[in-house]
């Protein structure tokens, strides 16, 4: 998903910037909350930015939170259920390259944000209508539309953040946005089941209508996000007028021909990324029922434990980000994260231990990996190719997620959870293999990937001389 890139950019963006510093004084004093130069106003904008992404993160994992209900009410097997995730990923295989371009050249950040928010809203409404009309294909189509908006909206959210906070509180803002995304996912996991039962009680019976109405109510969060997009557009335009600042740009330049210049370490980073995330997101998508069936959890407890990864990630991402920044040695951290994830999946597969242990480990390692892996791209790619490299990384990640989601559903239907876990272990193991290979290649070539923070400083100084 998009959020890892946010982290990466947050970690990379460390240059001071003077945007808006020399803006002319506004005639007449404005209250602090309405003055774009004041912290109070920026906090208001920050609040809007955080809620801008809330809807899409809330609704992304709606299927996971309602897995039992979706499968029962729509009478689909797990393979078909996982198509809901695959359809979200398909458009993003292409859109990862296009999102930045559309924002910079076609729509502009304001209209871009509004349009992507509309896609998210419409997608969720179609998804819910699919439930009400008992048409699974409509649900799939809804997820496709939702996917068109979802990832690009995250790009827009980043662009806003950079435009308003660059040189000020940018890293903190990225951190907060990320935490908000996790909170959105967590609230979804724990709320939707309850909401379904309430709707069921008021409608009198369970069924596809109940499901559709529940999803429609969940769609309110998307409307909220759309309102935030509109408000942000207004405030951004107002700030432009008052401060004479420019409209924010992603600054992404995508040149697909750059792909042929990608180095071996970069390809290895891609492999690590794809095979790591396919063992996390599809697992969370299928997780709830796994905890119910294998560990005998109640529906609520299963929801809670399925959201542990997000809960841990919310506070730990900034902490790990700081830690990796201070220590360097990215490959070693990535290695730790991948090995921990491997251990966590093995615990889930081969023991009946309380899954809180394994899921906490997974949450920690997932946060650590995001902080250590994504910034590595910047070390192996010249700056002008950075946009292409990140776009490509997300694109193949989405491709991987789409394919593995379908595969995971098929494996689960025919071979069961043990085999599914073994499959995920194999994926993580491939990722581990790539990490080890990356380490060796880096050592053999004397690359800079595994420098400590001090070494990086020294390199920077020697380059400056």
């Amino acid at each position: 998903m998009e959020e890892e890139e946010e982290e990466a950019r947050g970690l990379l963006a460390d240059g001071p910037d003077e945007a808006g510093r020399d803006a002319p004084a506004v005639p007449g004093a404005l209250p602090a909350l309405c003055d774009p130069r004041r912290l109070a106003h920026r906090l208001l904008v920050l609040l809007l930015m955080c809620f801008l992404g809330f809807g899409s993160y809330f609704c992304y994992d709606n299927p996971a939170a309602l897995q039992t209900q979706v499968k029962r009410d729509m009478q689909v097997n797990t393979t078909k259920f996982m198509l809901l995730y695959a359809w979200y990923s398909w458009p993003n295989v292409v859109l990862c390259f296009l999102g930045g371009f559309l924002i910079d050249r076609v729509f502009g950040i304001r209209w871009g944000t509004i349009i992507f928010s509309c896609f998210v809203c419409i997608g969720q409404v179609i998804f819910a209508l699919g439930g009400i009309f008992n048409a699974f294909w409509l649900m799939e189509f809804g997820r496709f539309v939702f996917g068109i908006g979802g990832e690009s909206l995250a790009v827009a959210q980043n662009t806003y953040a950079v435009s308003w906070f660059k040189g000020k509180e940018l890293n903190l803002v990225f951190g907060l946005q990320l935490s908000m995304a996790r909170i959105g996912s967590t609230v979804n996991m724990n709320l939707m089941g309850w909401l379904y039962s309430k709707v069921e009680a008021s409608l009198g019976s369970a069924g596809h209508t109940t499901l559709g109405v529940t999803l429609m109510i969940g769609g309110i969060t998307c409307i909220l996000s759309l309102i935030c997009a509109l408000a942000l557009a207004y405030l951004d335009q107002r700030a432009e007028r008052i401060l004479h600042k420019e409209q924010g740009k992603t600054g992404e330049v995508i040149k697909l021909t750059d792909v042929k210049d990608f180095s071996l370490p970069l390809w290895l980073i891609f492999i690590i990324c794809v095979f790591y995330y396919v063992a996390v997101f599809p697992f969370i998508g299928l997780g709830k029922v796994f905890f119910i069936e294998k560990f005998g959890f109640s529906s609520q407890a299963a929801s809670a434990i399925n959201s542990v990864v997000y809960v841990i990630s919310a506070p730990m991402s900034p902490i790990f980000g700081l830690m990796v920044d201070k220590t360097g040695k990215n490959i070693i951290w990535v290695l730790c994260a991948v090995v921990t994830t491997l251990a966590s999946h093995m615990l889930l597969a081969f023991t009946l231990w309380n899954p809180w242990i394994a899921m906490s480990l997974l949450g920690l390692s997932y946060s650590l990996l995001a902080c250590a892996l994504w910034p590595m791209v910047a070390f192996v790619v010249p700056e002008h190719q950075l946009g292409t490299a990140y776009g490509f990384m997300q694109s193949i990640q989405n491709l991987g997620l789409a394919i593995i989601s379908i595969l995971a559903g098929m494996i689960l239907d025919t071979r069961g959870y043990l085999f599914l876990e073994v499959f995920f272990i194999a994926c993580v193991s491939l990722s581990l293999l790539a990490v080890v290979f990356l380490y060796l290649v880096n050592r053999a070539r004397g690359g800079n990937l595994n420098y400590s923070a001090r070494q990086r400083e020294e390199m920077k100084l020697s380059h400056a001389e």
Partner: protein, 405 residues
Amino acid sequence: MCSCEEPRWGWGHCAPGPILLLSLLLAAPFGLLGEETRQVTLEVIPDSMGLPQNLLHIRAVGTNSTLHYVWSSLGPPAVLLVATNTPHSNLSVNWSRLLSPEPDGALMVLPKDSIQFSSALVFTRLFEFDSTNTSDVAAEPPGKPYPPYSLAEFSWNNISDSLDPATLSATFRGHPNQDPTRAFANGSLAFRVQAFSRSGRPAQPPRLLHTMDTCQLEVALVGASPRGNRSLFGLEVATLGQGPDCPSMQEQHSIDDEYAPAVFQLDQLLWGSLPSGFVQWRPVAFSQKQGGRESALPCQASPLHPTLAYPLPQSPIVRAFFGSHNNFCAFNLTFGASTGPGYWDQHYLSWSMLLGVGTPPVDAFSPLVLGIMAVALGAPGFMLLAGGLFLLLGPKRYSEYQPIN
């Protein structure tokens, strides 16, 4: 018995190596367990007049022991299991006495002193519940009960017609003698019995692992009209108690659901200490013939209870073998829940169990799982080792970049 009985938070019991060893160790002292090969035969025993009667004899002969399974639908469907410690034991049937009102002693396994273990299962009643207003899945009973069908008052087909010596199987198919509502006009209750000449698994879920020491029973209710929109069905199973106590029921939690997706439990009925009989089943039934995951129904088993309080339908073959003074224990199986798939989908319900003597078969990881795990864990380790060696011993071309620290 083994680590299998460990509660929830232990390591899964399915590590193949130790269990295999343990079961071999356990099996060794008892001649009749763990036979390498058995000659398994299946025959329908005709009565003295040569008239077809539903008495099916499965005989599994090993080098030092013989297992006898006698299935019959005289009265309610029932099975006797008898294990002897000689390869030469025989079943003798006194037909005139067996068909009389007092069949005591009509069935014997000879020589009598070779019998190591014997017991019986009787399938007495088919329950039906109305689950419309029940939300509690584990409720007991799972809904408003309809009057049960007594399986003693069913008429059964002639099993000689369905006898298949190639697959070692036969099917008892029956419907009520009195069927005023014509519920079974297009339907039947079938008991498909199968023995095995080698160990393996059937292709159909729940794919219980069978050996030559076991036989499998598949109960299928097909096409009968339910009395409510959301009818759940159940089966009453009676067995002989050992002395005053009932046999014990075990729920094993396993980590391996490869053969029965999403079913992490194996239920077992054990008659006592080894050598003893066992009944084994996965708590899952299916509402479609293909038995996919989307048609899986939960299967609840009640605890075993003595049946002194009410009379059970008598099984002539049980009385013929064990005499008239026995204490029976019974338990109820209930298939499905008020929500999710159910019998109402396709008017189909099937459930399987395994019946055997000796150590119950224990699932092990499939070779595919073991293979993938070996490669998945071995490859990165090997790579690290090989790469490390290469870096240590290989040419140090870039050494000028190293000593920054």
